[in-house]
Symmetry: C2
Subunit: 198 residues, 2 copies
């Protein structure tokens, strides 16, 4: 089953995971730097110092959120690459991957998109590496698609960026707009991103 680890973490079974969930909600609204440990504690109904019985510090909250999700994307991309089929079908699967993760972890996605630069040391390096690898894999799928005539001969960078920025920002819209059905959303997104709107 996909997203099992993600699902377990989102349900917040341990106190630690509860804190991480609360943090992700606050990070989404104000950003990592603007959220204080006292904010997180107050939302949980406890004092800031009590948080340290469960976590090592603020950085751990960020790195758990971001790296956990980045690994999910990396795993998803690997699965797509191993699958047989056309390049267009792979792009479809990537779109669906993003939508699945958005639906299951929309809060944490905000941290991944907006606050990854506040990671430190090895965590930051690892994240940047994963992100670059992800984009490079996506790019080579697009290039192959252009070469064999599946895709229009546009600059690959423009295609990559236009799809990826839509998918990465999806978390903002999904839930502002009444949470439409996931399968309907997938179908619409695939159609709009691949075949355009006119």
């Amino acid at each position: 089953m996909l997203f099992t680890y993600l699902a377990a973490s989102m349900s917040g079974n341990t106190r630690k995971e509860e804190i991480i969930m609360v943090a992700s909600r606050l990070f989404k609204e104000k950003g990592y730097t603007a959220v204080t440990m006292r904010d997180i504690a107050q939302t949980m109904g406890i004092k800031a110092a009590s948080l340290y019985n469960h976590i090592s510090g603020k950085q751990e909250l960020l790195s758990r959120l971001v790296l956990r999700l980045a690994e999910e994307f990396t795993k998803g991309m690997e699965a797509v690459q191993e699958q047989p089929g056309s390049e267009v079908s792979k792009i479809k699967r990537i779109i669906e991957l993003h939508i699945d993760i958005t639906v299951n972890a929309s809060e944490a996605l905000a941290a991944l998109n907006n606050d990854w630069m506040h990671l430190e040391g090895e965590d930051l390096k690892r994240f940047v590496h994963m992100r670059e690898a992800y984009e490079e894999n996506f790019r080579s799928i697009i290039k192959k698609g252009i070469e064999n005539g599946e895709l229009q001969p546009h600059h690959p960078e423009v295609i990559l960026f236009s799809i990826l920025s839509t998918l990465r920002t999806l978390y903002i819209w999904y839930q502002k707009r009444g949470k439409l059905d996931v399968n309907v959303l997938k179908k619409d997104m695939v159609s709009v991103l691949l075949r355009g709107i006119v």
Copy 2:
């Protein structure tokens, strides 16, 4: 001439505009909250206290950046609405508007996208109102386009979101990728966003 005020402000003719420019660069990299007045001062080669000879405080830096740009978008949208022609041609003009602003003020766009929520009081209200109006105007163009058969009958929200999130994130990619020619970029973006990639 369009963007005159914007261009004047970006050239940094006064000391105050210099500070605002430096701030926008730093805000783009780390976000509003993570940037300190000492950071800004150090980048300018002066002490933090000296900044207050030119500006009233940190908030002013943010609100100048964000509201100035928001007004540029609002003016642009008004111009598009007054223009005759098909709905598709209006969408084209909107795409070009975003690209023009991105090229002329890519730094400030980061603040507008990521840090608007740190505006306070009346500034925040004004921004949110302008943003909602902008989206509503865009949405009604799309709806009209669907009604008269220019556009595919997708959920307007999906179309709006997919175009807008691409355009809003453009500032990240434009300059990471060697600053391609503006007119080429416009043509490619219009083609990809309107007619898709397959």
